[in-house]
Structure formats: C-alpha cells, structure tokens
C-alpha cells in the first residue's frame, strides 16, 4: 500500500477518533461537563493524536530503515566479481535502484504485467528501451547481475511495503483503541494532550538540530576522505593553489584564505562606518518622518539578490575603477575584476545589514540613559559618544561580526567582481579569488568525484564553516553579554 494511502487512512481514523472521543467522555460523565476532568474537546484530541502520531512515527522510521536495509541486503548479495572494472559497488547499486524503480513504474503504468516483469530476461526484451519508455533512461545496457539484483530489490521492497502497511495501520488502530478505552470522566486528557504537544515540538526541534548535525557530518567525512589522499600539511601550509585535473595539483588554501580575508576587510571598511553612521543618524537625529521613509529604503537594499550586486560590480564598479586606476590613469589596475571591485560592492551589500542591526541595538538603549545624560547638560553627540555607543558597543560588535561572516560566505559578487585567479598579493587592484568561489569551480567541472581536486571542496567548506562558526559564536557571546548591561 503506498505511503500516501496510509497517511490518509490514519488521518481519517484520527478524525473519527476526535468525533467519537468527545461524546464518549461526555457519556461517562453523565452528560455533565463539570463531572469531567478536562473539557470534552481534549478527550477528542487525545484519541485523534493517539491514532495519528505514533502511526506516522512508525511510517517515517520504517521508510528510512527499509531503504537502508533493502539496499544493504541487495548489496551484500551482489557478486563481487560482477562489478565492472571501471565502477564501484555503490555506483552499481544506484543502477540497481534505477532499474528496480523503472520496472515498478512500468508495471504501474501498465506497460508490462507483473508476471512479465518478474520474468524479464537480459537477452529477451530490451529492458533499456522499456525503461526509457517510462522516463528512466539508462547510461548502458543492463547486465545480468544487475537485473537479478533489481528483481531481489523489488521483491524485498514489496514485502517491506506490505509489512509497513500492516504495522502502520496496526499502530494507528492500537492507539485509537487504547485512547478510546481510556476515555472516561476521570482520565486526565488535558495533561496527556499537553505532553503530546510538547513531544511534537521537541521532535521538530530535534529535526532541526539533526539536520545541522547531518550537514556537518557529511562535511567532516568528505574532508577526512580528502585528507587521506592529500596531505593536510600541504593543504594548510602550501602557498600555491594550482589544481590540475590530470593529477599532481597543488592545493594550498593560503591564497584563497588571503583573498577571502582581503575582500572581507575592504567590505567591512566600507560597510561598518557607513552602516553605523546611518544607524546613528536614523535612531538619534532623524525626525520620525525621515525615519519612516529612510529605514524601509535602506532595507530594500538588503533584499537585492547578490547576483544583482555581482552584475553591478562587473558592469559598473569594475569599469569605473579601471578608468581611474587602470593604464589610462594611475596604472596599477589591469582589469575590472579586482579585490577592490568585489570589496566595495560587497561593502555596499552589507551596509543595510550593519545599519539595521545597529539601529535596533541603539534603539534598545533605554531612553532613561539619554535623559540622564541630557539632564547633566551633555550635548547630543556627547551623549552618543559617551553613553549610547558604549552601552550599545557589544551589540554593535556582534552585528559587525555577523556582517563579517556574511562577507566571508559571499560567492556571487566574488565570482563576478574579483575574478578567479588564486593569488597572494598585496595590491588591492589585483584579481584574486576566495574560498567560496573556488568551491564552486572545483565542483562544477567534469572531475571525478573521488579525486582530490573535487574532494578539496569539502575541506575548503569545512575550513570556512569553522571560521564563520567561530565568528558567529563570538558574536552571540558578545550580544548575550550585552543584554545584561543596563538592567
């Protein structure tokens, strides 16, 4: 039975439970609501949730576990010598999965009957054509062991699906029955529903945490994989970045980190003063009317996709800088793509970010602080410099660090504004590149996924992740400390 049907049935059962649980509770209470421990709807909810939630839980876990179990069983049965020389078992297994899914689809569409499907022969009908017909084209002809494995896969999966249906419906019915029978006037349905809701919320939170964990783990494993085939000391200490897909490449992170760092510094040098000053103007000096107009305008800037900023860098800022610093002018800039171009544009992108965060933080400084200062005869700028900014400083530093981690993670502006040359140079008008931009270029080639040239992307990502995580933790720590300041 397809999963969708199971969900629908469980939902129907839950609805039924809701409408049966209520009157049952009322009946056991002799029709008097005050005789019940909880309001009648809670008894309904209790039955409904008891039918639905455990059943859905079983369904979810079953789906995760089944695909894993089936895959590993089939893989274990697969004859090792049948793996083609230029392929790995996992590649063959994904072929098996495709074939099995294709045959399933063909049966469901009625292209072939179930018996025909079970009797498919490699030599007989052309399986490749059959699968192409249902929209599952294969790269090569199906070989005998793959077909056998696919048939085993199908058999296991179909048994699994049947068992799944039984289990899910069984749990739903059990939950329904259990909750329904428990329904009487003294049963504490409200407390049970309350804890049920709490469990749901906890599960949602766990899911978010687990996803993060999953992402980190996949990064970690691939990074370890990379360091097995490429020495970590080279990666961190080498000063050249020269990947060559034929092998023998030098993959030193230093030029990329330098580019990232250089561009981010320029971006922050642009964004922090402008953003901070505009925040101070908006929160301390601007009249309510100006503020109501200017604040949304600045925030529009934050909504522009970074690719648009990239175009701006490529088409406007780059040429502009060349006309001043290029061969016709100062003569230190070769082309429009340069650290300066990307840094300036990235700085513009970060202005609204810094300004609106700082604005919120400055506004959070209580009016009583300003009154205290004005009451002692301080001017506006004295008050800002000596009372408001010191009180808001930790929060502002937090905002700047958040902006820094955005600058470090930015890709599009770098690709279009700074070029692709990995280089260690002090000249801000040279083309350079960053870690993120190189991750993209390492993964968007035809490179073999197991080669160091591709796997290095994970090591780069991991390094970046550690750096931005560090910055974010620092920012959070500072912001949290700041909260206790003026209480």
């Amino acid at each position: 039975m397809p999963a969708l049907w199971l969900v629908v049935i469980a939902l129907a059962l839950a609805t039924l439970g809701f409408f049966l649980g209520r009157p049952r509770a009322l009946a056991t209470g002799g029709g008097d609501i005050r005789a019940l421990h909880s309001r009648p709807a809670y008894y309904g909810w209790n039955v409904a949730l008891s039918s639905l939630v455990p059943a859905m839980g079983v369904l979810l876990i079953w789906m995760l576990v089944q695909s894993f179990v089936v895959n590993s069983t089939v893989a274990a049965d697969f004859p090792a010598q049948a793996v083609p020389e230029d392929q790995t078992l996992s590649l063959v297994m994904s072929d098996v999965g495709r074939v099995a899914a294709g045959i399933d689809l063909a049966v469901r569409r009625g292209v072939i009957s179930e018996t025909d499907a079970q009797n498919l022969q490699v030599g007989g009908s052309n399986i490749r054509d059959l699968l192409a017909q249902v929209g599952k084209p294969l790269a090569s002809d199906v070989i005998e062991p793959v077909l056998t494995a696919a048939q085993e896969y199908r058999a296991l999966a179909s048994t699994g699906n049947t068992l799944r249906g039984v289990a899910v419906l069984g749990v739903a019915l059990l939950g329904f029955g259990f909750a329904f029978l428990r329904t009487n006037s003294t049963f504490r349905a409200r407390n049970v529903v309350e804890s049920g809701i709490r469990t749901l919320l906890v599960l949602a939170a766990c899911l978010a945490v687990l996803t993060t964990l999953g992402i980190v783990l996949s990064l970690v494993f691939n990074t370890i994989e990379f360091f097995k085939i490429y020495p970590a000391s080279e990666f961190f200490l080498s000063l050249t970045w020269a990947p060559s897909f034929g092998g023998g490449s030098e993959l030193g992170i230093a030029p990329l980190l330098w580019g990232t760092f250089y561009i981010s510094i320029i971006a922050l040098a642009v964004a922090v003063p402008i953003g901070l000053f505009s925040a101070i103007y908006l929160s301390e000096y601007a009249t309510p009317k100006v503020r109501a107009l200017a604040k949304p305008l600045i925030e529009v800037l934050a909504g522009i996709p970074t690719i648009v900023y990239g175009l701006f860098a490529l088409l406007t800022v780059g040429p502009l800088l060349v006309s001043v610093f290029g061969d016709d002018g100062v003569g230190i800039m070769q082309a429009g793509t340069a650290v300066m171009t990307a840094g300036l544009v990235m700085g513009i992108m970060l202005i609204p970010f810094v300004s609106s965060l700082s604005d919120d933080i400055i506004n959070a400084v209580p009016q009583a602080m300003r009154d205290g200062s004005f009451g002692l005869g301080a001017t506006k700028s004295e008050t800002i410099r000596q009372v408001i900014l010191p009180a808001a400083l930790p929060g502002i530093v937090g905002a700047i660090l958040l902006a820094a981690s955005r600058a470090i993670g930015e890709t599009m502006i770098v690709v279009l504004g700074a070029g692709a040359a990995a280089r260690l140079s002090l000249n801000p008008f040279d083309a350079m590149t960053t870690v993120t931009a190189k991750i993209v270029s390492q993964l968007t080639g035809d490179a073999d996924f197991a080669s160091p040239e591709a796997l290095v992307a994970f090591a780069l990502g991991m390094t970046l992740f550690v750096i931005t995580l560090g910055l974010n933790v620092l920012a959070l720590y500072i912001v949290r400390k700041y909260r206790e300041q003026y209480e």
Binding site: Q367, A368, D371, G375, L376, G377, A378, T379, V387, Q485
Partner: protein, 265 residues
C-alpha cells in the same frame, strides 16, 4: 544661556529664581499642565506634592526643558530663569541643563563604573583640571549623597550593579557633581531607608545655602521637614502654593486639605 548682568541684591532678600506664567503642557491631546503660575525662590527648598499623575514630574521637566526630548510634548507659556525666558530661541537647552540639574524619578545610572557615573558631568563641563581634582569631586559628591561609605571600595564596579536605593543616591551624587544652580529632584527618596532618607534630607538642607532645590515627594512628612515652600498640584492645576507651614496647618483650598489629611490621592 546667553550672558546677562545679574543685578546685585542683598543676600537676605530672596530672589526669584524661576518665574512661570501661564504654563500649559500637552502630551498630544492630553492637557497635562493647566495654566500654572508660580515663583520659585533662590536658596529655598520648594516641595511639589499631589496625587499620582497630577503633573508634578511634567512641570519639573519643564524647568530644565527635559520635555524637549519627548516628541509628543508641547509646552506653552513663559518660564523665566533669573529673568530670562528659558524657552527663548537663543537659549541653548544644553547649557540650561548644566545650570538646572535633575535627579529622575526612576534611577538611571549609566552602564559605566560608579566613578565614571559621577565623573561624567564634571568631565563634560571641564570642572576638574586634573585627575586629583576629579577624584576629589567624585568623593565629595558621593559623600554628600550619603553613599560614599558603601561604594568607596568598589568605585570601578558598574553603577548598574547597585541596589535600587544605592542607584538613587548615585544619581543624586551624579547630579550634585556638576554643581548646578538649581537642583530638581523627582522623588529622590522613594527607594531609601529612613537613615539614607535623613542623610539625603540633610544634603538638601545643605544645598539650600547656595542653591535652590525643587523636590517632588509623596511623603507629607518629608515635604514638611525639608521645604520652605510647598506647591500642591491636582489634575494638572496648581491648586495652592505658599509657605510650607501655612499649607500644612492652614490650607486655603479644600482639595489641599483633603489631600494632606489623606482623603484624596
């Protein structure tokens, strides 16, 4: 304020420090102060009493233009300090506030050290030539506010870490440190124990020798103890103003009598 020659007058005859005529204050549509006329004398303690929400703080804030910082607030009428209209365009509210200090109803120490809180005003106005002088000002101010003994060992600790009553006295010290000519105190003893209250009252008495003090209080006893003049506010009106002894023994208006005997409030 711009400079004007102040006429020399005999010391025993008390000058009028603040002269208010026809003062109206609006918070948007809320008419908070209604047509108040009052003369506050120099070297005198004036107490403002009245039920909660009657406009005592609002009127007090008019005297050093703190209401300027509230967008919805509008002040009309004429208030003169030493014969100069303080709402005149040529008057710089910043300089006015240096002359007319204020202790707020809610203690509002800066998130700085105790020392920096008190040194804030003297630093801004350049009252101390060097560090030693500044130290002296800070110690003297803290002593006058009756908190020196409690904080002398932790002048570097944040002012926000003090108890409510200590913060209140720290704010008094902060206001006294700038040596204002007039000190406006909005319920300065609301969070103080009787001993600290007595010490602050002593300070007020001492300040009276050179300055004029306006104190808002909800304690009739305190008003009677420290003030020479008392103003009774009710629903935004100045109902009665006169000698403290007179107001407390022989009030003219029946609303004043009801209030001081505890029947309205």
């Amino acid at each position: 304020m711009y400079d004007t020659p102040i006429l020399e007058k005999p010391v025993d005859q008390k000058d009028i420090k603040f002269a208010a005529r026809g003062v109206q204050v609006y918070y948007g549509d809320n008419h908070a102060i209604k047509d108040v006329d009052v003369d506050l004398e120099d070297k005198t303690v004036t107490a403002f009493i009245g039920p909660s929400g009657c406009g005592k703080s609002t009127f007090l804030r008019c005297l050093n233009r703190m209401n300027d910082t509230i967008d919805v607030c509008r002040v009309e009428g004429d208030i003169q300090l030493d014969g100069e209209d303080i709402y005149d365009k040529r008057v710089d509210p910043v300089q006015l506030r240096a002359k007319v200090g204020m202790v707020f109803q809610k203690p509002n120490p800066f998130p700085k050290s105790i020392y920096d809180n008190v040194a804030y005003g003297p630093r801004i106005h350049g009252l101390a030539g060097n560090k030693a002088e500044l130290d002296e000002i800070v110690e003297k101010s803290l002593r006058r506010a009756a908190i020196w003994g409690e904080v002398k060992d932790r002048l570097d600790a944040p002012g926000t870490g003090l108890s409510g009553g200590q913060q209140q006295r720290l704010c008094i010290a902060r206001a006294v440190a700038t040596e204002p000519e007039v000190l406006l105190m909005d319920e300065p003893c609301s969070a103080l124990d009787p001993i600290a209250t007595a010490q602050v009252e002593e300070l007020i008495d001492e300040l009276r020798e050179n300055y004029s003090v306006v104190i808002v209080t909800h304690s009739m006893q305190q008003a009677a103890r420290v003030s020479q003049k008392t103003a009774f506010f009710h629903l935004g009106n100045l109902v009665e103003f006169g000698e403290t002894s007179h107001i407390f023994t022989n009030p003219t208006d029946e609303r004043t009598e009801s209030y001081i005997t505890g029947r309205i409030g």
